[in-house]
Assembly symmetry: C2
Homo-oligomer: 657 residues x 2
């Protein structure tokens, strides 16, 4: 019979060989955690390598993403189709192969999430586990009943985001979340003692986790700990005391084994010490057979689940929401809303418009899950249809994340990746900087996560420069695969949500005003003009357009005033509303040119930093905006003080004619 040791060593040698061939990579973690992973994947994890996306599989998340070879080795050994060819392992970290330096969602099925930036996987896992609990509350335990395992290193636990996630796991009592900590006492700079004196068990206990410590190289002890954690009734931390790079004769237990190839001599010595006679990338047949058998052990559980699922009355809704398909008829709510507001023309802040949009959409799109980082009544993110989630009742749809923007965003990624939910979460726009790493992951992983970011300029007024975004929107626009919407009125706000929901393959940001604004789109059309990115809101009148005023959000009405000032001087100006740069860039060149008014003087106005606007105004154009940090005063005083006025816009245009 193939021993545990041989199976674990298969992970170790694949790791050593792949990293050696790639001439880069991180052997320390896969070798150190090979025993834990072997126990988990052969005795506990509910999965079927032949059906890797089975909805009720247990989730396994490698938060310490630099240890990617652990995941690839497991995928190869257990027989995941996309990794079962050894060429993938042999071409670790090479162009055109799935085995990227860090595990990437979408490249290999075994990667439930992209990891590498530390701590993200821990917070993602909290999102996965919350999704499971919420899904179980909706569909019942017959359909949804799985564990979430996350493997994390010291780095993950040092990152602040881990604390945000750990706390929330405690609040929601995510008892099916099990964190396997690679407790190896080594960080990149040396012994962890140089930068950590935390008692991690006590820390997790303080957030209502069940905790224990085991020898991470003793398979029976690991198994006992996992079995106990499954039954604990709390989220569980298992501190697995390991030797980093276990199996490397001279380098194990040292930071030298963390992030560099071991070298041929060390690997040869490792083979000798382990009695591993197989050559590079070769796995003895009995060992591979044992692994492949483990990989499909879950097939019977899956078959039973399929039977139960076939009998489940709500299966269509389950399949629809898991596929990310929006429900029939939701566009009627969009249309009805647009008709109503274009007729009634309320003077709402766009954050208020956003709330009304959510009031219209959340009843018809039940998979939308709201939340806020403790700014619910400022972001205006809660609706009648979204009652709060709690430890004892996860049937709700609103999440109080506390003051944890980063955790919120990363947990939203987990909710989205798990399937079944479309998360949206609010904070102030400026605090996009607290959640940036997680938003970037939403974008890299093509996740439809919606960021409701209110108080979107100096227009927030008295809270002052610490709260006034300047560089924020430019930074978001510079990030690939993010739709950044800055709508001007209730119609554009609804259109922004419509476009964001239609965009199944990436996150969207809504930058929404604190201050009241007029409704500008007063003639209804079902066409989504915001989805074009930019459009002519008001064409020049009387004669050929001389000036094109380009604005977003709260400054569109200001541009309309400037247009009037120019008209009074006999200058024909059009106003272009540009709620979404990214979507405008996707339009045909002719459309873009017609909107931007080739040959006209172009002036952009946005009460944010001006960075990047040269793209639209050209060399002869002007940008009216912020060139430094803001100040604390009422909003109208700030606009005046910083020269963001209709007069300034008109003057800039006139000066260039």
């Amino acid at each position: 019979m193939t021993t545990h040791a041989a199976m674990a060593n298969a992970i170790r040698f694949l790791t050593m060989d792949a990293i050696e061939k790639a001439k880069s990579g991180h052997p320390g973690m896969p070798m150190g955690m090979a025993d834990v992973a072997t126990v988990l994947f052969t005795r506990f994890l509910k999965y079927d390598a032949k059906a890797p996306k089975w909805a009720d599989r247990d989730r396994f998340i490698l938060s310490a993403g630099h240890g990617s070879m652990l995941l690839y080795a497991l995928g190869y050994l257990t027989g995941f189709e996309d990794l079962s060819d050894i060429e993938q392992i042999k071409n670790f970290r090479q162009m055109g192969y799935r085995t990227a330096g860090h595990p990437e969602f979408g490249h290999v099925a075994i990667a439930e999430t992209t990891t590498g930036p530390l701590g993200q996987g821990v917070a993602n896992a909290v999102g996965f586990a919350l999704a499971e609990k919420m899904a179980a509350a909706r569909h019942g335990k017959d359909v949804v009943d799985h564990y979430t395992y996350v493997m994390a290193g010291d780095g993950c636990l040092m990152e602040g985001i881990s604390q945000e996630a750990i706390s929330l796991a405690g609040v929601w009592n995510l008892s099916k979340l099990i964190l396997l900590w690679d407790d190896n006492h080594i960080c990149i700079d040396g012994d962890t003692a140089i930068s950590t004196s935390d008692d991690q068990l006590a820390r997790f206990q303080a957030s209502n986790w069940d905790v224990c410590r085991v020898d991470g190289h003793d398979p029976e002890a690991i198994a006992t700990a996992i079995a106990a954690a499954q039954k604990s009734g709390q989220p569980s931390l298992i501190a697995c005391r390991t030797t980093i790079g276990k199996g490397a004769p001279t380098k194990a237990g040292s930071e030298k084994v963390h992030g560099a190839p071991l070298g041929g001599d060390e690997i040869a010595a490792a083979r000798a010490a382990a009695g591993w006679s197989a050559g590079p990338f070769e796995i003895p047949a009995d060992v591979l057979d044992a692994w492949r058998a483990a990989g499909t052990k879950g097939a019977s559980a899956r078959a039973e689940w399929e039977k139960r699922f076939a009998a489940y009355a709500g299966k269509d809704e389950f399949l629809r929401t898991n596929a990310g398909t929006l429900p029939q008829g939701w566009k009627q709510a969009v249309s009805a809303f647009k008709q109503k507001v274009s007729a009634e023309q309320p003077k709402w802040a766009t954050r208020k418009a956003g709330q009304e949009v959510l009031e219209a959409l959340t009843p018809v799109i039940p998979e939308m899950i709201g939340g806020s980082a403790d700014l619910t009544h400022s972001n205006l993110t809660i609706t009648k249809a979204t009652k709060p989630v709690s430890a004892s009742d996860c049937s709700g749809r609103y999440i109080h994340y506390g003051v944890r923007e980063h955790g919120m965003a990363s947990i939203m990624n987990g909710l989205s990746l798990h399937g079944g939910f479309i998360p949206y979460g609010g904070t102030f726009l400026i605090f996009a900087n607290y959640l940036w790493p997680a938003l970037r992951m939403s974008a890299m992983m093509d996740q439809r996560v919606l960021y409701v970011l209110t108080h979107d300029s100096i227009g927030l007024g008295e809270d002052g420069p610490t709260h006034q975004p300047i560089e924020t929107v430019a930074a978001l626009r510079a990030t690939p695969n993010v739709l950044v919407f800055r709508p001007a009125d209730p119609v554009e706000t609804m259109e922004a949500y419509e476009a964001a929901l239609d965009n199944a393959k990436g996150p969207s940001v809504f930058a929404l005003s604190r201050q009241n604004l007029p409704t500008l789109r007063t003639t209804h059309t079902d066409e989504n003009l915001t989805a074009k990115g930019a459009y002519v809101l008001a064409e020049a009148e009387g004669k050929k357009r001389q000036v094109t005023l380009i604005a977003t959000g709260s400054e569109v009405s200001l541009a309309m005033e400037a247009r009037k000032l120019l008209a009074d001087k006999g200058i024909a100006a059009a106003v272009v509303s540009m709620p979404c740069w990214e979507l405008f860039e996707r339009q045909p060149k002719e459309y873009r040119n017609s909107v931007l008014g080739e040959g006209t003087v172009r002036v952009a106005v946005e009460a944010l930093g001006t960075f990047g606007w040269e793209r639209w105004v050209g060399e002869n154009g002007a940008v009216i905006g912020m060139n430094g940090f803001g100040a604390s005063a009422p909003a109208e005083k700030l606009y005046e003080h910083f020269g963001i006025t209709a007069q300034a816009v008109a003057d800039a245009a006139q000066a260039r004619l």
Copy 2:
């Protein structure tokens, strides 16, 4: 005798009146913590309101910055000169007054740091306390011996950055750091129980803090706790159980009192309940007298300190470093280095060049304090002159921050704000997104904090898209008051450091390559060309310039190759190295035009996102760079794959001629 209650109520009524008049603000926290603040400022805090910048004062940091009226009330009452005019209080949150919505460093002396973004103050305080311990190790207890007090709310403790900071305070055993937690059980969304179940005392204990809980409205209990904390020998948490908005008859104890004016009726009822007959903004003479007396109680301690300091042999160095003046002669090290590398022309990665620069500068600028977020040997930030700091020995100059980028940056702000140190810290460039909120604070507060951000493009290779910055540099360039340097070779790297050190009023970022690069500046000049932001590295030859190739960092050598390809076709191209946009923008227009080559075809190349480059290439120009996320492969393959090649640059130029 004036009672404690009356003195605390003076804070409460100034708070209520100021917020009522401003029609915005946050009364809950100042009213809830008025008793704690009164005990601290009348019995413990070592300060002299008449000499607010006395170097050995205790530091008081209001991390819960929305409670700014607490600070302003204290400043007014104790007689800080810049707040002693009641007009400042009456014009809270108004244009042209110092009393901004959140406390701003530089506006009022009592604000040791700008706070508002939650958690920053806690991490700043750890930096202040570390600075104190490090300064004491250098100058002795006769010269440096003060406490750091930080007042934080639930929001601060929910933010992940607080965990990073708390952990490090434990590692360094900052026994003179005392955190006063406003434990009021209320967050903005309601009872803290909706989003937190943490046992905070246990959490802090897990990081080696001394902890206790007191009734935050019992002055004797508070005093006992502070006295004990001072002697504890560990960093101390005092959980002050308070009622938010204490003194508001109907609204106290509820989230309604957190962030909105109380209203005239509630304030009138508060006056009646407290027997407070003084009108708005009036403080009874005996109460004001008692406060003003407290404000100068520290004068005698200060006088004694001045006497000791006068006798201190190292006082000149102490004064110099605290003033932020660089030592005599450091520029000789700059010149010697530039001469050497321009002659020897090593092929170093700029991260390696950065290390050599630090090897040259750290011996001659002893106030430079290095560190890394656990990437020391990747960032190459440690030098022979900088031995590590530890709990038992703070005489060192190198800080192992652990995997805590955000905490590192915020602690560096504290080190810088305290005075006496110029901190620099390393991580990968991509992880600027983990530390962005703190970097923004460096910029807002004009702090000379140096960010050493290596692995600065797809040139890092195999680690892949999670580690490859795309939007990062654009985001940093969009942030006001940050100098973003991307040097091309060892000469430019030294010049970047020189310019950054000369820039005493703001942070700098060094984006440094992982991969090796040629030395391009092969003719020595003492002039700092990098400080001009951009300059012509190689003028067109043979005939009038037709093409201007603009590049930064690792792509400057690529532009040089493209120039040769163009020359082979008879096209005359110049190469402009543009290591710092911000400094280039400060140059006279004529210089800028001469560098950019008005009328020439301009092509920019940078192996990062292209966002923002339209500023320099104009409408007819081209930008060669990244338009999406990167990939995992060896660097040279990636450049090829993404079309960032000399040929692509040359082709783009030629196509536009």
